[in-house]
Structure formats: structure tokens, C-alpha cells
């Protein structure tokens, strides 16, 4: 009898450890969205700033996928961003535009899609043509200072 109680507790302990591992991998690291079926589209950006792999891809503020790869195109010198879009978002018009925005002033970068009006939809492996690069705060400040200076001279 005592052996059975002992084995019961050890079994429970093992089960708890495995459940904890499942929670860690599914809930904390979001592994489930990694293996989900979907399709990938690519887009070339002039500048991606702090965009990283696994950054969210949103449409109208709702997350519909994530960045799955970033590489540099050495002939055009643009960043090629590969995005995995969830399978239930099949009907994105092919003239959809992509821009890189920032969550709040200091937040992380994400890709925002803006749907177009085309009747043809994006497929697996297709490319988004219309892209807007990330807003670099330093460039903006430089432009403001430049315009202030030139308006002061008049």
C-alpha cells in the first residue's frame, strides 16, 4: 500500500513537470503559433529599424501573423522581410501595402498591412509591392531642425 502511495506521488510529480513544460512552451514562448499552418509573403523595405523575427504582423491593429525571416538583398540593398500570415486570412488583396510602425514611443516595431482594392488575392510566396520604411526618429528630428533653420533664414 505504501509503495502505491509513493508511486502515485512520483507519477503526479512527473505529470506536473511535464505540464509545466507544456505551459512554458505553449503559453510563455508561444510555440503554437510557430507551427501553425499559414502562408508566407515577402516584402522589401528600405529600412526596417528594430524589426525582429517573430515581430507581429497586424491588419487594422489585429495580429494576423508574424515575421518569420529577415535578410538583406545585396543587389538592391533592401531588407527582405518574410511574413507568415495565418491560414484564415486568405483574402488579402494583392495591392496590399505594408509599413513598419512602432508600438508607442519606445515600443517594439511591427508590420502593419493596409488592404488594397484588387480582386486578386495574395498567395503563398507572393510579394507585397507597396512598402513604407520604418520611421527613424533621428531622421525626423534632423529634418525638423533643418526646416527650422531654413525658415529662420528667410
Amino acid at each position: 500500500m505504501r509503495d502505491r502511495i509513493l508511486e502515485f506521488w512520483v507519477g503526479l510529480f512527473m505529470l506536473m513537470g511535464i505540464i509545466a513544460l507544456f505551459i512554458l512552451s505553449l503559453k510563455v514562448s508561444g510555440l503554437s503559433s510557430f507551427s501553425s499552418t499559414g502562408y508566407t509573403v515577402t516584402a522589401a523595405f528600405d529600412n526596417i529599424a528594430g524589426l525582429k523575427i517573430r515581430s507581429p504582423v497586424t491588419l487594422a491593429g489585429v495580429k494576423i501573423g508574424q515575421v518569420s525571416g529577415i535578410k538583406l538583398d545585396t543587389t538592391q540593398f533592401k531588407a527582405i522581410v518574410t511574413m507568415r500570415i495565418d491560414a484564415d486570412q486568405r483574402k488579402l488583396p494583392s495591392d496590399t501595402s505594408a509599413s513598419i510602425l512602432t508600438q508607442g514611443l519606445l515600443g517594439a516595431n511591427y508590420v502593419s498591412l493596409k488592404p488594397g482594392f484588387d480582386q486578386v488575392f495574395l498567395k503563398d510566396g507572393s510579394t507585397i509591392q507597396d512598402t513604407q520604411p520604418a520611421l527613424i526618429l533621428e531622421d525626423l528630428i534632423g529634418q525638423i531642425i533643418f526646416s527650422l533653420k531654413s525658415s529662420g533664414r528667410k
Binding site: 509503495d3 509513493l6 508511486e7 506521488w9 512520483v10 503526479l12 510529480f13 512527473m14 506536473m16 513537470g17 509545466a20 513544460l21 505551459i23 512554458l24 512552451s25 503559453k27 510563455v28 514562448s29 508561444g30 510555440l31 503559433s33 510557430f34 517573430r54 515581430s55 507581429p56 495580429k63 508574424q66 508607442g104 514611443l105 519606445l106 515600443g107 517594439a108
Partner: protein, 263 residues
């Protein structure tokens, strides 16, 4: 001149002692690993030891995990709030717990709770000559006493560490979302966007496994190597806790330095 020679002799003795002990503990580990446990007879022994080492440590591990998560959540919030970045609390709690605090604190608690008990138990067996009488009866003490305890420690430690991390993150969630009123969706999505399974969670588990092996090895060796007196058992127990803690903290630095490349 003579004084310097004496000091040199002392230094030499200390180094030779250290090397001998290291060598003996390595041979000891080899002997444990080489004797692969007898499946049918060894399994009940292993289950019993997992119960004593793992299940009985569960409560202290879970409680410390909860409080660790609560404290990291509070501290992290108070600092992140100064930069207006309190939404990033999930990332801070999850990464610090999974990468560092989970494995290290679990291993330190494990060394204090289970390691010292292992040393004392085996040390007392040796000083009351139970180990010697086992050998007389033709029963191998390494196989029947040491090996199940060693394997039980190696199995229990990663499980305890995983449970600790999970509960600590839950503690951080409690402080951030339930108490301080952060958005629950933001907490989870920031956390999921920053924690990666292959480079964070797996590395944490690797740390757990390494710490488990080292802490149990030290505990079992110190017990087996005890001077068979009451004082000897006491000293061996102290040494177990001190050596395991130092080894865990030192190894943690080395492992982190190796793993840092993937972050």
C-alpha cells in the same frame, strides 16, 4: 627562509589534496554511471528516491517560485514604470526567470534541501558501517544505495526547475495583471514575442540538467567520502551545501557566457 619553505609545502599539500579529491570524485562518478541500474530491481528504489528528493522538495520549490515571481514583478514594474514601459513587464519577468532565476534558485534550494539530506543519509550509513556490511553480504552499495539516489536527483532537478519557472511567471502575472492592473493581453503577447523556445526555454532546461547532475554528484560523493564519525558527517553536510552552491553559481556564469550567443 624556512618559513617560506613551510608555506610552499602547505600550498603543495592543498593542491595535491584538491587534485586527488577531484580525481577520486571523477572515478566515483564513472563507477556510478558504469553500473547501469538493474531495471527490475532498481526501479522501485529509484521511485522511492525520486519521492524523497523530488516530491518532498516540491512544496518549498513552488512557494519560493511564487514569491520569486511576485518580487521580480514588483521590482520590474517600479523600474519599467519610470521609462513608461510597464507594458514590457511580461518580457522582463519571463526572460529573467527562465534564463537565470529559475535554474539557479531551484538548484540552490535543491542543494540545501535534498543535497544535504543525501549527504547526511549516506554519511550516516557509512559511519554506522551499513555500507561495509552490505559489501560483506555481497551487495554492491554503489548499485543499491548510491546509484538510485544519483539518478533520482538528475531526474528530479529539471522537473523541479520547470515547475519553479512556470509558477514564478504566474507570480509575475499575478502582480502585474491582477494587482497593478496591466493589460493581460499585452503582458502575454509581449512575453510570447520575446521568449523563444529553442534559445530560452531549452537553454534553461539544459542549465537545470547540468546543475542537477553537479549538485547530486557533489552530495553523493561527499556522503560516500565522509570521515565516519558524528563530526565527519556534519562537516560533509556543510561541505555539500558550500561546494554545490559555489559550483552552481560558477557553472551558471560559464553556461550563460556560452549560451549568450544565441540571444
Amino acid at each position: 627562509m624556512l618559513w617560506i619553505a613551510d608555506q610552499l609545502v602547505l600550498l603543495g599539500q592543498a593542491v595535491l589534496n584538491l587534485v586527488t579529491n577531484l580525481g577520486r570524485s571523477a572515478i566515483f562518478l564513472w563507477n556510478i554511471l558504469y553500473r547501469k541500474p538493474h531495471l527490475k530491481k532498481g526501479f522501485p528504489l529509484l521511485v522511492e528516491q525520486i519521492y524523497f528528493i523530488g516530491v518532498l522538495s516540491l512544496l518549498i520549490i513552488m512557494l519560493s517560485g511564487l514569491f520569486m515571481g511576485l518580487v521580480v514583478g514588483l521590482q520590474g514594474y517600479s523600474i519599467l514604470d519610470k521609462f513608461g514601459a510597464s507594458q514590457q513587464l511580461g518580457q522582463l519577468v519571463a526572460l529573467s526567470v527562465i534564463r537565470e532565476l529559475g535554474p539557479v534558485v531551484t538548484a540552490l534550494l535543491f542543494a540545501g534541501r535534498a543535497g544535504s539530506a543525501l549527504t547526511a543519509e549516506i554519511g550516516l550509513m557509512k559511519s554506522t558501517e551499513q555500507l561495509a556490511s552490505m559489501e560483506m553480504m555481497g551487495v554492491d552499495p554503489l548499485q543499491h544505495v548510491i546509484s538510485p539516489r544519483f539518478w533520482a536527483g538528475c531526474i528530479a532537478m529539471p522537473l523541479l526547475g520547470t515547475i519553479f519557472s512556470t509558477i514564478a511567471i504566474f507570480g509575475g502575472y499575478l502582480v502585474g495583471v491582477v494587482w497593478l492592473g496591466l493589460d493581460s493581453g499585452a503582458f502575454l503577447s509581449v512575453m510570447q514575442a520575446s521568449v523563444s523556445f529553442s534559445s530560452d526555454i531549452l537553454n534553461g532546461i539544459i542549465k537545470n540538467i547540468v546543475f542537477g547532475i553537479v549538485a547530486t554528484w557533489i552530495a553523493v560523493f561527499q556522503g560516500y567520502d565522509t570521515v565516519p564519525t558524528a563530526q565527519g558527517v556534519g562537516r560533509a553536510t556543510t561541505r555539500t551545501v558550500v561546494y554545490s552552491s559555489l559550483a552552481i553559481l560558477g557553472l551558471d556564469f560559464v553556461l550563460t557566457a556560452v549560451m549568450m550567443r544565441s540571444w
